[in-house]
C-alpha cells in the first residue's frame, strides 16, 4: 500500500515553517515552496488558556 510517509520520500517537500525564519529562508534558497508562520506564544503563554485552546482550536 502506498502510505503517506512512503509518498513523502518521492514528493517535493512543501513546508509550513513555524519558528526560526532562517530555516524558511534556507528552503526558499533551494527553490522550494515554503510559507512562514510568524509564531508567538499563544495566549501569551497563559497555561489555563493554552489548555482551553487545545480543546477548542
Amino acid at each position: 500500500m502506498d502510505t503517506d510517509d512512503k509518498r513523502l520520500l518521492r514528493q517535493e517537500i512543501k513546508t509550513v515553517n513555524i519558528g526560526l525564519e532562517l530555516f524558511g529562508e534556507a528552503l526558499r534558497q533551494q527553490g522550494l515552496q515554503v510559507v512562514q508562520v510568524d509564531w508567538r506564544a499563544p495566549a501569551d503563554g497563559d497555561p489555563e488558556l493554552l489548555d482551553i485552546l487545545a480543546q477548542l482550536l
Binding site: D4, K6, K14, I18, F23, V35, A41, G45
Partner: protein, 519 residues
C-alpha cells in the same frame, strides 16, 4: 505667543487626517504655540476662530482652500513652522510589506499542498503545534527540544495512526528527496540513505559521502530520544521500512549514540533482515552487535561514510579522500608541542555540534583517558561548572545551559568565541579543538569570526611566551553557501591546523595534548 501667521493655499486639497498629523508635528517645533492645518470649511473656520487664528486671509478662504495657521513666540519660529508645513505637505509615503502568517491555519490556506511542518518554537509549545500539524495531515519535523517524553510518545503514536512521520523532537537535520531541512548541507544526490538520532552525526557522514564522489538519497533525523526505551525507536523502525522500500536508496547507514540495549536489539534485528547493505554506527558502542550478521560496523562517522561508499561502489577505500597518514599526525603533534612552554598541558574542546563533540570524546579517550565535559562519557567526569574547564575538557556549547535565550552556536558563534579567548589566556592550555559546521540554516561565514579570534588567541599566547595549537575540521561541502575550500583556507591563514574529518582532528589534538603532558 504673539506672532500669528496664516497662509492660504488656494485649491490645494489634502486629507483632513493628513493635515492633523502635520499640525501635530508642527506643534512640536520649538517656539510654536499652536499649529492648525485645515481646509477652510465653515466648521473649520469656527475652530480657527476659537483659536484666535481666523485672520482675514483665512476668513475669505473657501472650502477648497487649505489654510496653514500658526501661532508662535517670534517671527523666525513662525516662518520655520510654515516652511516645515509646506515641506511636509509635499512628502509622500511608500513602503513594502513581506508576508508571514500569524496562524498555522492561514499559512496552510496559502499553501494547501504543504506536506511538512518544520517546527522550531520553544519546547513548551512545540507539542501543541506538532499535534495541530498532524491533525491537518502534515508530516512533522520537530527541531525544538525540551518537549516532554509523554508528548513525544503521544505524537509518535498519532503519527503512526495517520501514517505520518514525526521526526524529533530535537531533530536538527534532515535531507528528504533533495530538500535540506534545518541544519543541513548541500550534498549530491545518490544512493546512500542515512538514519540518525544525531544531527551533526548525520551532517558529517553526508559531507564525507559527498566528498568521496557519492551522494545521499535521504538523510533522516529521528530525534535524540527516539532510541530510548520509552519511545522504543518508533520513528527509526518506520524509517528503516521506508528506506528499504525506497528505490533511490542502495545502502542504509544508521548512526547514533548507543541506544538502550533492548531498543538496540530490536533495531539490529530489524536491520539484519534488511534487503539492502547496512552500516551500523553506534558511536562508542560494541561491534559485537553485528557479529554473525551481514551488517557492517563503523566506530566513527568517518568509518561509516567510508563503509557506505565502499558497499555502494564496490570499490575498496580505506580512508576518505585527503586523509592524513597516522605517522604524519604524530610528527605534526610533536612539532606543535616543541614550540610550547613547559606549563602547557591541557586540551580544551569547544564544540557546536553535539555528536561531533561526542565522537571527539570517544577518539580522545584513546590518547588522553579521562576528559571532563558537560556531556561526559562517565558521570564522575561531569564538569561541576560548565563555564570553567578542569584538566582536559570538552564542552558541547549547544547544550541547554549555554543556549538559554540565545540561538544555537551553529547560528550564533558569540559564546564560543568568548570561551576560546578565555581558554587561550590560561597558561596551562596547550591545544584547542573545534568543529566548524557549514550548510544551510547555519551561520553564513563561521570561519571569518573564528579566524579573527584564533589570531587574537594565538597572539595573546605568543605575547606571554606560549604557543597555542588550534586544531579543527570543517564539516561541509563545496556546494554549501559558505564553500568548504574557502572556509578551510581562512582558518589555515589564521594559524589553525585543518584536518578533513572530525575524527582525525580529534586524533591530532589528542596526540598534541598527550605529548604536551609528557613534556
Amino acid at each position: 505667543m504673539n506672532v500669528r501667521r496664516v497662509l492660504v493655499k488656494p485649491r490645494e486639497y489634502s486629507d483632513s487626517v493628513r493635515l492633523m498629523r502635520i499640525s501635530e508635528k508642527l506643534r512640536g517645533l520649538s517656539g510654536v504655540g499652536e499649529a492648525i492645518l485645515m481646509m477652510a470649511t465653515d466648521n473649520n473656520k469656527r475652530l480657527l476662530e476659537s483659536a484666535g487664528l481666523l485672520l482675514a486671509e483665512a476668513r475669505s478662504a473657501s472650502a477648497n482652500d487649505l489654510v496653514i495657521a500658526i501661532r508662535a513666540e517670534a517671527d523666525e519660529a513662525a516662518e520655520a513652522a510654515v516652511r516645515q508645513a509646506e515641506s511636509l505637505l509635499k512628502e509622500r509615503v511608500a513602503k513594502d510589506t513581506t508576508h508571514t502568517f500569524r496562524t498555522f491555519d492561514s499559512a496552510l490556506e496559502a499553501l494547501p499542498e504543504a506536506n511538512l511542518a518544520l517546527i522550531s518554537v520553544p519546547g513548551k509549545y512545540a507539542a501543541a503545534e506538532a499535534r495541530r500539524a498532524l491533525e491537518r495531515g502534515l508530516h512533522v519535523m520537530l527541531f525544538s527540544d525540551n518537549v516532554s517524553l509523554d508528548d513525544e510518545i503521544a505524537l509518535k503514536r498519532l503519527g503512526r495512526e495517520k501514517g505520518l512521520l514525526v521526526l524529533g523532537p530535537d531533530c536538527g537535520t534532515a535531507v528528504i528527496n533533495g530538500a535540506a531541512l534545518g541544519f543541513a548541507n548541500v550534498v549530491r544526490s545518490g544512493p546512500v540513505g542515512i538514519l540518525g538520532a544525531s544531527g551533526t552525526g548525520i551532517q558529517e557522514i553526508c559531507v564525507l559521502v559527498d566528498r568521496m564522489g557519492s551522494g545521499i538519497s535521504h538523510a533522516i533525523g529521528t530525534g535524540g530520544r527516539d532510541l530510548s526505551l520509552a519511545v522504543g525507536a518508533s520513528t527509526m523502525l518506520r524509517c528503516i521500512d521506508l528506506l528499504e522500500a525506497d528505490e533511490k536508496t542502495r545502502v542504509i547507514v544508521v548512526t547514533s549514540k548507543p541506544p538502550d540495549s533492548r531498543v538496540a536489539t530490536r533495531v539490529l534485528e530489524r536491520l539484519a533482515c534488511c534487503r539492502k547493505p547496512v552500516v551500523v554506527n553506534f558511536l562508542g558502542g560494541d561491534p559485537a552487535g553485528v557479529a554473525g550478521t551481514p551488517m557492517h560496523w563503523a566506530s566513527t562517522l568517518e568509518e561509516a561514510a567510508n563503509a557506505a561508499v565502499r558497499l555502494e561502489t564496490g570499490k575498496g577505500r580505506g580512508t576518505s579522500s585527503g586523509a592524513v597518514d597516522p605517522a604524519a599526525l604524530t610528527g605534526q603533534a610533536e612539532q606543535e608541542v616543541a614550540q610550547m612552554a613547559p606549563k602547557q598541558k591541557y586540551l580544551r574542546g569547544l564544540f557546536s555540534g553535539g555528536t561531533l563533540g561526542y565522537e571527539a570524546l570517544l577518539v580522545l579517550r584513546d590518547t588522553l583517558g579521562d576528559i571532563h565535559s558537560n556531556i561526559p562519557l562517565r558521570h564522575d567526569l561531569r564538569l561541576p561548572d560548565s563555564w570553567t574547564s578542569v584538566g582536559h575538557t570538552l564542552v558541547d556549547l549547544g547544550e541547554d545551559e549555554y543556549t538559554q535565550g540565545r540561538a544555537h552556536p551553529m547560528i550564533d558563534p558569540t559564546l564560543r568565541l568568548h570561551r576560546l579567548l578565555d581558554e587561550a589566556a590560561l597558561p596551562e592550555v596547550a591545544v584547542i579543538l573545534l568543529d566548524v559546521v557549514l550548510g544551510l540554516g547555519t551561520h553564513p561565514d563561521p570561519a571569518h569570526g573564528l579566524a579573527d579570534t584564533v589570531r587574537r588567541a594565538r597572539a595573546t599566547a605568543h605575547a606571554e611566551g606560549r604557543y597555542l595549537s588550534v586544531v579543527t575540521a570543517v564539516c561541509g561541502t563545496e556546494q554549501d553557501p559558505q564553500g568548504l575550500a574557502r572556509q578551510e583556507e581562512t582558518l589555515r591563514a589564521a594559524g589553525a591546523i585543518v584536518l578533513p574529518t572530525n575524527a582525525q582532528a580529534s586524533r591530532l589534538a589528542g596526540l598534541i595534548a598527550q605529548r604536551a603532558c609528557a613534556a
